[in-house]
């Protein structure tokens, strides 16, 4: 029999497979690299033909991202020489910085709403998942399916009554409203994922603790929770990424005070349309945390994206 076996591919096979996968990976990250690169281009470089791969990096995009600018007369500009490096960048275009842009606020909103809803959904989800994992809850399967089915509605369809409800309750465009909404959306993911993690913790540990005189609640807090920490953290990151990326509810239910970054970034405009270096700079800062988290999540990724249906 030949030495070839599918259980251990030949070196040549490995090479070919490796080259093809690397090629795909390189092509697939080009748009991401382009986002980061565009953030450091000057507006002229960003829209040059042919597209520039090599260029002189500038922080113009980032300055434009965080500021609003107005055009000024030559006399004014001459009378007030630029004081800072970012003021100097703006002066090239006969502009002065008028004030901060709203990007910072939107970013902070994303953080508040993201972390708030993540905390709530993981907190509630942990409790519910423990109950579903350990106790006989009446109609357990139906309840679990009901929790999952809430994810099948298109967000726009849900948004119609939510919009009316928030208007009646005064929750429109508030942090609290968005936190509650994202919690409700995330909790299905949290319950399903955490139930999977809890199912994997042997019951014997708690039973031993119960025999030692712990109450059920103590056993949950002192025995189960420490065991579930990895699962809880992974779940939290998934919830955070969802809230962070969410757009449909954000664009429909927020406008001023509680707007998050995703609906805001595409509205960054400069002279004659979108200010691409500024948009790219905003996108880079916004996408960066998720990129870092994804690398951390590698091992749990599959589980997170399939609601725990595939565990690996």
């Amino acid at each position: 029999m030949s030495a070839w076996s599918i259980t251990e591919p030949t070196p040549r096979q490995k090479w070919v497979a490796g080259i093809l996968v690397v090629l795909y990976a390189l092509v697939t990250i080009v748009p991401l690299i382009w986002i980061v690169a565009t953030g450091f281009k000057s507006p002229a470089d960003a829209i040059s033909y042919p597209p520039k791969v090599l260029f002189e990096p500038t922080l113009e995009g980032y300055v434009n991202l965080f500021t609003t600018r107005t055009r000024q007369t030559q006399e004014y500009l001459d009378a007030n020489p630029p004081e800072t490096w970012y003021e100097e960048i703006v002066r090239q275009y006969d502009m002065v910085i008028a004030g901060p842009s709203r990007y910072g606020e939107r970013f902070v909103n994303s953080i508040i709403i993201g972390f708030g809803s993540t905390f709530l959904s993981v907190f509630l989800g942990t409790l519910a998942a423990y109950a579903f994992s350990r106790f006989k809850v009446p109609l357990k399967d139906d309840l679990l399916f009901f929790i999952l089915s809430t994810r099948m509605m298109p967000p726009i369809a849900v948004a119609i009554p939510i919009f009316l409800m928030f208007r009646t309750l005064g929750l429109s465009d508030t942090h609290l409203g968005m936190i509650l909404l994202y919690t409700a959306v995330n909790i299905s993911l949290a319950v399903w994922l955490l139930k999977g993690f809890m199912d994997e913790i042997p019951r014997e540990y708690e039973e031993a603790a119960l025999i030692d005189g712990y109450t059920r609640f103590q056993a949950f807090r002192k025995v189960v929770l420490p065991q579930a920490v990895t699962g809880i953290v992974a779940t939290a990151i998934f919830c955070l990424i969802f809230s962070w990326n969410e757009y449909a509810f954000a664009v429909l239910l927020t406008s001023g005070t509680a707007q998050t970054a995703p609906p805001f970034i595409p509205t960054i405009i400069g002279v004659g349309g979108q200010d691409w270096p500024a948009v790219a700079a905003g996108a880079t800062l916004f996408l960066l945390p998720v990129l870092v988290f994804t690398v951390f999540l590698r091992k749990h990724l599959l589980r997170g994206i399939t609601f725990g249906a595939v565990r690996k």
């Binding site: 096979q13 795909y24 509605m153 009554p161 409800m165 790219a280």
Partner: protein, 314 residues
């Protein structure tokens, strides 16, 4: 196991009795733990759903302050006979079919290649996965830049390989190309999803099956079709289910890319629904639309899950 009176007695007095005296019963804890979740879902999902059903029988407009009139099933009749909605459904079907087709094809191939276990496959897998974790709205918006005629990177690359003038075609502005423009970006974003699930499927196949086939002198080709494909099929079907539901709901990516245009060739159901509900403010009509969509997704998904379970049983 011996069933002595001693062990029977031990089993008859479980620690639960002792627990009940000092703490809450298991039953009480179960309810206290589950109740907040159920309450939240009732308040933010079920109550609004019931509200939507009620509204769907009215001519309510959320931007006007006029008394609500009950109009029976007229909204439903209007939707089901509307030819524009039929066009929207066709656009959605085109999008669904081709995104799933390409994602399964490329995703499975990639998984199969990665499963050759070459060195460094972990690192490259992580890189490939990155696009799907990002905000579709932000990334979709940036793709409109890549798609710009003349200055866009996408057009430049296409013209580099085909020789066509980069300003001779507009991916987003052209009626024939726009439906493909959204398919391309969605495939770029979500192929890794299918890939990851297929990879899990491939890794779940035990080596001894291939070893047995090898002893029986089954060709590689035959092994692939009689072992690999059937064993991965349940995973693949699960991936298709997830992508199907997600793309039926598709809003953020496409609304940022094309906004439903040009005309309405990329106006998927969610975008169409958003127009009716939040631009034309036909709240009652849009509610009926939402209910129809929900019933469709739910119905199709249930049928599909039944089929999936049959495949699993085999």
């Amino acid at each position: 196991m011996t069933d002595s009176p001693m062990t029977r007695a031990a089993r008859a007095t479980p620690p639960r009795v002792a627990r009940r005296i000092r703490g809450l019963s298991d039953r009480a804890i179960a309810w206290i733990f589950v109740a907040p979740t159920i309450f939240l879902l009732l308040a933010v999902n079920i109550f609004p759903l019931i509200w939507t059903i009620r509204l769907s029988f009215t001519n309510f407009k959320a931007n006007r302050n006029r008394p609500i009139e009950w109009i029976g099933t007229r909204n439903y009749e209007r939707i089901l006979t509307d030819s524009d909605i039929w066009l929207t459904m066709q656009a959605t079907a085109h999008f669904l079919f081709w995104t799933i087709f390409f994602q399964v094809l490329i995703g499975f191939t990639l998984a199969w290649l990665i499963n050759r276990k070459f060195r460094g496959n972990d690192l490259w897998t992580t890189i490939i996965v990155l696009p799907m974790m990002l905000s579709p709205a932000v990334v979709g918006n940036f793709w409109t830049f890549l798609y710009q005629p003349q200055i866009g990177l996408f057009n430049y690359v296409v013209s580099f390989f085909t020789g066509a003038d980069p300003s001779s075609f507009q991916m987003i502005g052209d009626v024939n190309l726009a439906p493909w423009a959204i398919v391309i970006v969605d495939t770029w974003m979500w192929t890794p999803f299918v890939m990851l699930i297929c990879l899990a499927g491939l890794r779940s196949i035990p080596d001894y099956i291939y070893e047995a086939a090898e002893i029986d002198r089954a060709s590689n080709w035959r092994q692939f079709w009689t072992i690999t494909i059937p064993m991965v099929l349940p995973f693949l079907m699960l991936a298709i289910l997830f992508r199907g539901i997600e793309n039926f709901k598709m809003f953020d990516l496409v609304v940022q890319l094309t906004g439903g245009g040009p005309g309405s060739v990329t106006e998927l159901t969610s975008i169409n629904l958003k127009r009716e509900a939040f631009e034309k403010w036909r709240t009652g009509y849009a509610s009926a639309y939402a209910i129809i969509l929900f019933v469709t997704v739910f119905g199709l998904a249930s049928i599909y899950v039944k089929a999936l379970n049959k495949v699993k049983e085999r």
